[in-house]
Every structure is written in C-alpha cells, then in structure tokens.
Amino acid sequence: MTDATADTGRAASALQQALARPRILVPVLILVAATVLALLAPALIGNPSGINPMARLQAPSLANLFGTDQFGRSVAARTLHGTRISLLVGASVTVAALLIGVTLGLLSGFVARVDAVLMRIMDAIMSIPTILLAIALMALFGAGVFNAIIAIIIPEVPRMARVVRGVTLSIRERPYIEAAITNGARPLRLLFRHVMPMTAGPMLVQATYVFSAAVITEAILSFLGAGAPPDVPSWGNIISEGRTLFQIAPWVVIAPGVCLSILVLTVNSLGDAIRDQLDPKLRRETR
C-alpha cells in the first residue's frame, strides 16, 4: 500500500510540475476546451443535419458564424459535431494502441524468441504506408466510424510497440532489474512494477504522436469517402462535401480545415513539450 501512495504522490507532483510549464499547460487547456465543446455540442448548437434550402451557401455572418453549405446546413454546427468524431477516433486509437503496443513491446523486450517473430511482423506492417493500410482495411470493412478506428489502430500498434520495446531492451540491463530478480520478483511483477513505469515517458510522448496521426488518418479516410458515413459529420467528410464548391464557397472547407490543423498542432506541440520536459537531452532529436 505504501508503494502505491508514494507512487500517487510522485505522479501528482510530476503532474503539478508539468502543468506549471506554459508549453504543456496551453495545449492541455486547448484539449480540455475542445473536449468540453465536443461533449456539449448537441446542447450548444443546432442540429448539424438541419437542412434549410432558403439559406444555402451563405458566407459567414453573425447568424451563421462559419457560413452554410450547399444544403443550408450550418458549417459551425457540423464542424463542432466533427470535433466529436476526431476526438473519439484519436482517443480510442491511442488507448488501444497503448494497451496492445505496450503489451507487445514489453513482451518483445523481454522474451527474445517472441521478439524475433513479433518484430518481423511489426516491420512488415510498418513497411505499408499508414494511409494505404488503413484504406485497404476500410475497403474490406466498409465505411463507418468504428471500422475506421479499427483500421487506424492496426498501423499504429507497431509504432507504439517499437518505442516500448526499445526502452525495455535498455532497462533490462540495469542493475536494479537484476536486483529485483535476485529478490525473487516474479516475471509479471518485474514487467509491470519495475520495467513498465520506466517506459511511461517515451510511451506518453509516442501516444501524442499516435493521437495526432489517428486524427489525420480519420480525416483523410472520411475525405476519401471511406471513413465516417455521410450522415455523421466529420471534419474529413465536411471538407470532402465542400470541395466541389470550393471556388464559390471556400468557408465550408476552411472551418473544419483550420480546426483539424489546430487540433493536430496542439497535440504535436504537447508531445514535443512533454519530451523536452522528460529529457532535456532529447530536445535536439526528433521522432
């Protein structure tokens, strides 16, 4: 029990320290704000599918902050609802990639026989460009948000597993691990109690990159017509619907495009900031 309380204490103070840095605090606040807006979207703003033929393709005004599309639907309402899809996909993919990737990475780092097989499979998956693999999977699964999440998890898992494996390999050689083994720590305790906490930093940084990659991939899939179905507004399919009218009504594309860029920029900067905070030596390196 004392172990656990000490851990919570340490985690809390680390969190406090991290949030004192504007480079971490600002992106976190933006993400919290986006999440709150996304959750409250149905209450805050009208129906994203409300068609109004009288108000088609109106430029942004006070009544329609981001203008209206070719069916007279409010671009603001659609974009806000799109936030839900992007955050949902980003969060689900990140959590799943963490769970699967960390398990595989720890296993690979510790069991040489598993490593040989698993890492070759991971290499093969990583050889296929992310978007193409996701497209191939979507061609099989069919459009849909849930299917898109699965299709994005598969290419992202190896990217997480690789990072965790790398850290595990270097941790394995540390004297304290040997000490734990000598003290009779069982394999599972060894992995989860002594090795996993050490991978937390790189894991967290990688998680932010997985999140932003997932958001972009979902937007691309929806843009290509293979992601969220037309009745579910997502940034990708709003842009896709707006592209034919881009020359006369660019605002339909601008609102979701700017939101998408801001979300990805926020998450990427958060990742960079966490990385610098965890290890100033890494500051000069990149992903």
Binding site: L132, I220, I239, L260
Partner: protein
C-alpha cells in the same frame, strides 16, 4: 563492401515476403465473408458467388495463397473487379504522374529542408532558428489536403499563378508537366520537408560540437567551407535515414494529393477503388507502395556505407 551490399540485399527478402503475406492475409483475417464484404450490402447471391470465384475465395487458404503467390511471381497482380482490366495494365497507364509527383516532391523537400535545417543549426537559439523550428512544427501538423486547398485558394484562385487542377503528361513537354505538378508537390512536401529540416538541424548541431570542426576552423578554413565539407557529410546518415522513412508518408500523401488536384495517377486509382470496393486494385497498390518503401529504405541503408566507411563493417542500429 561487396559483402555488406549482399548481406543488406538478402536481409530485405524476408521483409518483402512478410509484406506480401501481410497484404494477402488482410483478406483472410477479415471477420465474416470477404466476398460479401467486397460486394456490399445490396449484392445478389450470384454477384457474391462471382467475386468468390474470381478471388479464389472458394478454395482453402493455402491453395489461395499458392495461387496468389504464383501469380505474383509471374507479375500478375490480379484483375479489376469492376472493369476486368489487369491491374498491371492500370498501373502502367497511371504510373507516370505519380512517379513525377513523387520525384518532384522529394527534390523540393530535400533542396529546401536540408539548407533550412543547416542554417538553423548554425544559429541555435536565434530568431531565425526559432522561426524555422516553428514553421517546421506547423508544416508537420497541417494535413496535406488542408495545405493543398490553402495553396489552391491563394496561388490558383486569387493570384492565378499556377493551375488548380489536372496533369500535363511528359509528352506535352517537361515544362508543362512541372507547371501542373508544382502546387501538388509543394502541398505534399510540407510534412516531409519539416521532418528533414528538423533532423538536419539536430544532426548538424551534433556534428558542430565535434573536435574536428574546431580543428578545421583553427587551421583557418571559412565557416561555410567547414559547414559544407566537414559538417554536412558527417551529419548525412540521420538525414538520409529520414529521407527514406519519409517516403512512407509521401506515398500515403500521394493518394490524397492526387484526389485534391485531380491527377490521374496511382493515388487517384487507389482512392476511386475504395469507393467502388475494387479490392484487387487496392491489394496490388498496397503491395506495390510497400515494396517501393522497403526498396527505398534498402537504398538508404546501402548509402550509409557510402557516407561512413565504418558502417560497412558495423551497421548503425541506432535509428
């Protein structure tokens, strides 16, 4: 050196085989009846049966794998479900725009990214350095189709400098081709250039702290000479590595860019194939792009030996 080359080339074969197996198993590992999935919800039982026979889905997986593998070995990538045209023919018809776009993008990204990163590295912490880093974080975060629409809006629609859409084949002259591909290449190279600039900056900063740089400066060589002749070649390995890795993102980006700019290349072929659920096309393109990626990275691996003789004996594991 020869031994190193041969070892590296042989090491790629199992990866290529695994990629082929992975692409093949996509269809097998999908839950449910793949023929039903490809045919869609509205298909009649006859249509589903036809797809099943066409893709040999009515046979045991091992037989399917053998048939697919043997066809592959004979250069047969299957036929389009919709048009019945062999996929290899479709690829041959559409490879030129994609190849030109990819080449132009790589050249652009390297020619801008490397100097930008090097320049920033010589002035760490300065305003220019911060500006370059900020730009690279932004370029890294703006998805390719957003950047593409931004460029179309300002460069084509407002300024009328470059065409907003379409592709002029090489037969119409290199100038026309480059003119039609300039905007797509700029859009596509954003992320790639940012990666290259960041890695170049980090690598050059690292090398500039080495003793031999101080020695070279001490014996009176100019800053620029030291930078180009002594620093850059020694920073080359991480730079060519990221150039190789970036090709993966580039190939994925091609699908989006070609759709935005209406370029009749392989990317557009893939994009239209998803909507028509023409699975053999997607399978073939996935395999093709993965093979290109693996081979580009093999070239990168081989180039290590060129930049650093030590690598010929001991390959850097640290990526």
């Amino acid at each position: 050196m020869i031994g190193y080359l041969v070892r590296r080339i042989f090491a790629v074969i199992p990866v290529l085989l695994l990629v082929a197996v992975a692409v093949f198993s996509l269809l097998q590992l999908t839950p449910g009846d793949p023929a039903q999935l490809i045919a869609g919800d509205t298909a009649t039982p006859e249509q589903i049966q036809a797809i099943r026979e066409k893709l040999h889905l009515d046979q045991p997986p091992l037989v399917q794998a053998m048939a697919w593998g043997s066809a592959l070995a004979h250069g047969d990538l299957g036929t389009s479900l919709l048009s019945g045209v062999p996929v290899t023919t479709l690829i041959a018809q559409r490879i030129e725009p994609t190849l030109m776009l990819a080449l132009l993008t790589i050249i652009l990204a390297v020619c801008v990214g490397v100097p930008l990163g090097t320049f920033a590295a010589t002035r760490v912490g300065s305003l220019i350095d911060r500006l370059v880093m900020l730009l690279s974080v932004m370029a890294f975060s703006v998805p390719v189709f957003i950047l593409a629409y931004g460029l179309v809006y300002f460069i084509s629609l407002k300024l009328h400098w470059l065409p907003a859409q379409g592709y002029k084949p090489l037969s119409a002259g290199l100038g026309a081709t480059l003119n039609s591909l300039m905007l797509p290449a700029v859009a596509l190279c954003g992320v790639y250039m940012a990666q290259i600039a960041r890695v170049t900056r980090a690598a050059v900063i690292e090398v500039l702290t080495e003793d031999f740089i101080r020695t070279a400066r001490a014996k009176g060589l100019s800053r620029l000479y030291v930078l180009i002749v002594h620093a850059l070649p020694n920073a080359a390995i991480p730079i060519v590595t990221i150039i190789g890795f970036g090709v993966g993102g580039l190939l994925g980006g091609v699908v989006v860019t070609e759709t935005v700019f209406n370029i009749p290349g392989l990317g557009q072929l893939a994009a239209s194939a998803i909507l028509q659920r023409d699975y053999p096309i997607i399978q073939a393109l996935t395999l093709l792009f993965a093979v290109v990626y693996v081979l580009v990275n093999l070239l990168v691996d081989l180039s290590y030996g060129l930049f650093d003789p030590r690598v010929r004996v001991w390959k850097a594991v640290n990526r």
